[in-house]
Amino acid sequence: MSYITKSPWIIHYDGSSCNGCDIEVLACLTPLYDLERFGIVNTGNPKHADVFLVTGGINEQSREVVKNTYDQMPDPKVVVAIGICATTGGVFRECYNIMGGVDKVIPVDVYVPGCAARPESIIDGVVRALGILEEKRTKMTEKGGK
């Protein structure tokens, strides 16, 4: 166990979601699901965050914001695409203003399908992302060691 897996901080951005997945992400932080028991804290500042949760597909306006937020996060970082819209575009994939899933703009590590994604699956996705985060950190330290 490293310092990161003990207390990873998350940041959430709504690409162009209908709100369903957003409030489920928030519900994860409240008493019934209580993500904070894993030491997870929701932050608004990308420079504090290790895990990036994106809900909704990507549109013209949100493309730059998502990319900026991702670029500002320090390495190692992981991205979790929450909901079917963030994964592929979902029911909105044929809309004129939707480019598709989040992976059109930034690399995604974990996909959490569902409409809306249930809090249980969001937590599962985040916990999986923590494993990937740890792997990335190990790789980074090995590189740094050499």
Binding site: A27, P31, G56
Partner: protein, 359 residues
């Protein structure tokens, strides 16, 4: 005159889960003007009517917003049913009303929690969201979905609620009613809440009317406006009365919502007591031809769906006017003259739902 500076607020910010951008023009700590920019979550789903069957489109209409989801699908169904002259069976109307009131309860509790969070009252935030989960439990047990239900269809509803389950729902609501009242007492009497919200972001009755405020924003300013008074779905048979408060400040907008949670509990109890027997859907034959404006009262206010059809299976035009969009001019009025630190609380009091407003 002192120097003016512009503080950008959003789109990625810690106050709301959704992106909205405001340019706040400040003189020292005081906001002189607020200029909103929207469009961060625009998807263009109204255009999808041209590609989807009008019956399948109910599911997309539901995904306009993840909080008022059920109300959006019912309003769209109402429009189609009026065009096609479909008589929806009374039992379906009553069950729709029950689900709409459950949506209102969960939306208002969510809002009360977020407002407490914006004030820095973390405990109250957690408490409101804990109560909301109790409402969502029944929602999930009856529809299968927590926030997106998919249980409305053109001509009725997909699922019936058995009578014994209706009884259990009422018992459950009775058991959580004291907890809801307790949480309301905090909003009414707590010094911290009053200090942060009383006299803040005042919108007078005339301004609310002139700027086109709707829903709890208008009712908090003393305007007696509620589409449920027109008696759509089963509201006409439940003896509905709108809740209004006179001062037009943040606290009154908050009290309208906390009172409406209890009023929704009463409405559900009355609907279950009067629940008629019978079928839950009417067969739909043919395609719609004509146009209709359907109105409904969402948790955030009056919502309008305009549908125009020409006898084909795809609809020609679907236009939605959502409460958040109409509440943005009143919000800009409220923001002028307040201090920068109060901006998050005031922005929240219109209950902004950007997903709705931009679709």
């Amino acid at each position: 005159m002192s120097n003016q500076i512009v503080v950008p607020f959003g789109p990625q910010h810690p106050v709301l889960p959704e992106p909205i951008h405001l340019d706040l023009v400040l003189e020292d700590e005081r906001v002189v003007e607020a200029v909103p920019t929207i469009g961060y979550v625009h998807r263009g789903l109204e255009k999808l009517v041209e590609k989807r069957d009008f019956k399948d489109y109910v599911l997309i209409a539901e995904r306009i917003c993840g909080i008022c989801s059920f109300t959006h699908s019912v309003t769209y169904c109402n429009a189609i049913e009026h065009i096609m002259g479909i008589e929806v069976p009374p039992r379906a109307q009553f069950i729709r009303t029950i689900w709409m009131e459950y949506s209102r309860m969960h939306s208002h509790l969510l809002w009360l929690g977020l407002t407490a969070d914006a004030m820095g009252f973390e405990n109250l935030f957690m408490n409101a969201w804990r109560l909301r989960e109790e409402i969502l439990d029944d929602m999930e047990a009856t529809t299968g979905g927590r926030v997106i239900q998919g249980s409305s269809k053109v001509g009725g509803i997909r699922l019936d609620i058995p009578d014994e389950k209706l009884g259990e729902m009422v018992d459950h609501l009775k058991s959580i009613r004291p907890l809801l009242e307790e949480s309301n007492r905090i909003f009414t009497h707590d010094q911290t809440v009053r200090h942060r919200m009383r006299g803040l972001g005042v919108l007078s009755k005339e301004e609310a009317w002139d700027l086109g405020a709707v829903g709890p924003t208008a009712r908090g300013s003393g305007c007696d406006m509620d589409v449920r008074s027109t008696g759509y779905s089963a509201y006409g048979e439940l003896g509905f009365k709108p809740i209004t408060f006179p001062h037009g400040d943040c606290l009154d907008r908050c009290l309208v919502r906390s009172e409406e949670v209890l009023a929704a509990v009463d409405l559900v109890e009355r609907a279950v007591a009067k629940m008629p027997d019978g079928p839950i859907e009417e067969k739909v034959k043919g395609n719609p031809d004509g146009e209709y404006f359907a109105f409904s009262e969402q948790p955030r206010g009056e919502c309008m769906h305009y549908v125009k059809a020409n006898g084909k299976k795809n609809i020609v035009r679907h236009r939605v006017r959502t409460p958040t969009f109409t509440n943005i001019p009143p919000l800009v009025k409220m923001l002028a003259g307040i201090e920068l630190a109060d901006v998050p609380v005031v922005v929240l009091t219109i209950d902004p739902c950007i997903g709705c407003a931009e679709r």
